[in-house]
Symmetry: C2
Subunit: 117 residues, 2 copies
Amino acid sequence: MTHFGAVVREERERLRRRDRRFSLRQVALRVGVEPAYLSKIERGRVPPPSEAVTRRLAQELGQNPDVLLALAGKVSGDLLAIIRARPRLFAELLRQLEEAPDHAVLRVVREVRDGEW
Amino acid sequence: MTHFGAVVREERERLRRRDRRFSLRQVALRVGVEPAYLSKIERGRVPPPSEAVTRRLAQELGQNPDVLLALAGKVSGDLLAIIRARPRLFAELLRQLEEAPDHAVLRVVREVRDGEW
DNA sequence: CCTGCTGTGTAGTATGTAGGACACATGACG
DNA sequence: CGTCATGTGTCCTACATACTACACAGCAGG
């Protein structure tokens, strides 16, 4: 299990090879945290940051926010709100889909998107 | 918006009319918290309790845990784990279903349950 | 009446969350 | 070769979370 910080570091250093502006300090500045803090995050010396910081980090590094949040052990706040609005419904749905293969879930997504209701 | 504590109190007092063992103190004892704490919870003087306590409360009061957790502003940990396992997939699904009517979602649940994959 | 249960007020605690401030050694490079 | 940017170590803080402990007034029944 490769952890949150490792992914951030890896991705940041990958970008840095192409662009000097992806030093730890400069990314930290743009993301709005102290360099020392980002350093600790990347080396896993502190738990992953808040959802807000994680989102800005994902944006900065061109990563999918939901994926990065998942690595941070979190779930996007807007998804939580969707579930809380109809807890029984979505609880059953998710538990039902837990072991379904990706393609089956994707088919459901497409069906719904194509307005079959 | 009727809050968490109000629902708990209402439900507990409803049960108590039939059964003396549903006094605040006795429920608190069975749930494993201090009576003073449950009292404050029911009157909304403190934020809703942890997921664990909420679950035991739901069990004790014959309520749906997911619903009570939603009232507590939380989402069941097992659902979070399901999402974190495949964040992109379930993020898209949930956002897609946000505005779908209940019956449409239920149809999806049934389809999957009946093993159409 | 007095024993015992009822709910509640006040105070305090432990742990987690989410970082900031500052100093420092190292290496790049102009 | 001196300056500047780089990453990192240490210390500290503010706030939220999730409760416990203890005391106390009210009333209910035997």
